[in-house]
């Protein structure tokens, strides 16, 4: 009997559990939501007990937190950062302005729908979301990872043309390198 198929499945389950307990978030405060991240990470809320902690560089990070609105200028950098991150990687949209533009719905410089440009795994609503909400967002992401559903990075690779099309629509001066995965 061939046990290979079971072995693969078992490996995946174990790695998913391991991954879910080691979420290193990239230290990139893209918007005002970055003010509640220190509170989440420090003594009272202590996100580190869930395995969530900060990482300084994109290549070592697992989670990209879009903390609030994204201006067009930042979006360009965020895409660059996201593409530098290594698999497995996840995106959390933080705050109501990441969900649907929030109170900046008629602003000429902020994007209104984050998931057109990046594959978002979890949205956390609120302005500002409380640290409890942020922790719940992380718990949700962990659940998704364990269930094998947080496949945003794969989605991005498979539908690169769709995302690229949306990105190029608003970023005028496109000077990115061409990646091949």
């Amino acid at each position: 009997m061939d046990y290979g198929i079971y072995q693969d499945k078992l490996t995946r389950i174990v790695t998913d559990i391991a991954r879910s307990h080691s979420l290193w978030i990239l230290a990139y405060g893209t918007g005002c939501g970055a003010i509640e991240v220190p509170a989440t990470m420090t003594s009272r809320y202590d996100a580190e007990r869930l395995g969530v902690r900060g990482a300084a560089t994109p290549r070592q990070a697992d989670v990209l937190m879009i903390t609030g609105y994204l201006t067009v200028k930042t979006l360009k950098r965020v895409i660059r950062v996201y593409e530098q991150m290594q698999d497995p990687k996840y995106v959390i949209g933080f705050g109501s302005c990441a969900v649907n533009g929030g109170m900046y719905w008629d602003s000429y410089n902020t994007i209104k729908q984050l998931d057109l440009y990046l594959p978002v795994d979890v949205y956390i609503s609120g302005c500002m979301p409380r640290p409890e909400a942020v922790l719940e967002g992380f718990a949700k992401l962990q659940e998704q990872i364990r269930a094998g559903e947080a496949r945003g990075a794969t989605k991005y690779k498979d539908n690169l043309d769709y995302y690229r099309g949306n990105q190029k629509k608003i970023i005028k001066n496109w000077d990115f390198p061409d990646y091949n995965w």
């Binding site: 220190p38 509170a39 420090t42 003594s43 930042t74 410089n109 500002m128 409380r130």
Partner: protein, 368 residues
């Protein structure tokens, strides 16, 4: 053949040491910076454009979002500017409540600075303590206003809500807690010899330059000039309170740190005085229907002291139900671009973050 020895380094926008979302292009020779160019604009949300499309009360909800670490002085300047143009006289109690909330915001922002300054020099424990303790102040905010960060509390005509029952006692309890806690902060940060050695004589700003650039706040006070908008151009009821303006003469990171250390204690004393003296009475005046509320034509400039220096709001009304123009003066606006570029020259790469923290660079209020 002469070889080009300078390397260009991009400090930000994604960088753990930068204070917010901005970028500094550094030209370095070895470890020494020879040229710095600030690039901002990553957080431009076009508030001032949006304000022109919202009525007077809707605009007020945007105001606190101008500056993230300390939103209340911005709300306060907007409210006072509207009151000046519209000629609204606010009740005495509202003024005292405003002072209380401004000082609480000041404390919370100073605690965040403790964390940032420690973090920028590799002292991560400071952040665990001061940001953790800051939650006690945010709890007070939450009880009073319903929100931790964006309070939307100080509005034209007074404040939005009165104190809940027993609130004063809880404020005093938190102040007691901080008074017990501050010696620990001293032990951890200010008596730490590494912190002293890395800050003394680093990031010196020439006092002449500070005055020329119109920088107010700790950088000015750390250069030995006693100046504080709360006293010099007094607003609300600051003239009825007794407090000291701490000054230092070093004009380096260490001097600015000592000024902030003393200011945290002054804020506690101000809050205690406010709780002791606050009068009874109304907390706001009734405003007309916000959709139909028009304000006579005119303009006003209101200024307030925030932790990073002077903030101000220039507000113009053309007689309609929407502001014609609301232009915010961020405290960091005057130094984050022109002054910072000068100060960074000659510093080490490792000190950039500490210098930025110490000057109080805050990108959201630069580009708004």
């Amino acid at each position: 053949m002469k070889r080009e020895r300078a390397t260009t380094l991009y400090f930000g926008p994604q960088h753990p040491g930068i204070t917010g979302n901005m970028m500094i292009r550094l030209k370095v020779e070895g470890d020494t910076i020879v040229k710095a160019t600030t690039e901002v604009g990553y957080l431009h949300r076009a508030f001032e454009k949006l304000v022109e499309k919202r009525n007077w009360v809707q605009s007020f909800t945007l105001m606190c979002r101008f500056c993230v670490p300390e939103p209340d002085p911005v709300e306060n300047t907007y409210a006072r500017a509207v009151e000046m143009i519209a000629g609204i006289e606010i009740p005495e109690r509202a003024k005292w409540i405003r002072v209380l909330i401004l000082e609480l915001a000041r404390m919370s922002s100073l605690l965040l600075w403790h964390a940032g300054q420690g973090h920028s020099l590799g002292l991560y424990t400071m952040g665990q303590w001061s940001v953790g303790d800051r939650n006690y102040i945010l709890d007070l905010f939450e009880e009073l206003t319903g929100a931790r960060i964006y309070h939307m509390y100080v509005w034209p005509g007074g404040v939005r809500k009165d104190f809940p029952e027993g609130f004063e006692d809880r404020v005093l309890k938190v102040m007691d807690y901080f008074e017990n806690k501050l010696p620990d902060y001293d032990n951890l940060l200010f008596e730490n010899s590494i912190f002293q050695k890395r800050t003394q004589g680093v990031g010196i700003v020439n006092p002449e330059q500070i005055i020329e650039h119109g920088v107010v706040g700790q950088p000015l006070r750390a250069a030995g000039i006693k100046s504080d908008i709360r006293i010099d151009d007094s607003y609300e009821v600051y003239d009825k309170l007794k407090f000291d303006i701490p000054t230092q003469t070093g004009s380096d990171i260490w001097a600015r740190a000592l000024v902030r250390r003393a200011e945290l204690r002054e804020s506690i004393s101000i809050i205690r005085q406010v709780i002791g003296k606050i009068p009874k009475g109304d907390f706001n005046v009734k405003l007309p229907n916000p959709q139909k509320w028009t304000i006579p034509a005119g303009d006003a400039f209101a200024r307030a002291e925030s932790v990073r220096g002077e903030v101000g709001m220039y507000l113009v009304s053309d007689g309609g139900n929407k502001p014609r123009r609301a232009h915010f003066r961020g405290a960091a606006y005057v130094h984050a671009v022109s002054l910072l570029e000068d100060v960074l020259v000659g510093a080490n790469i490792a000190d950039v973050s500490a210098i930025m923290n110490s000057l109080g660079t805050c990108p959201p209020e630069i580009e708004r």
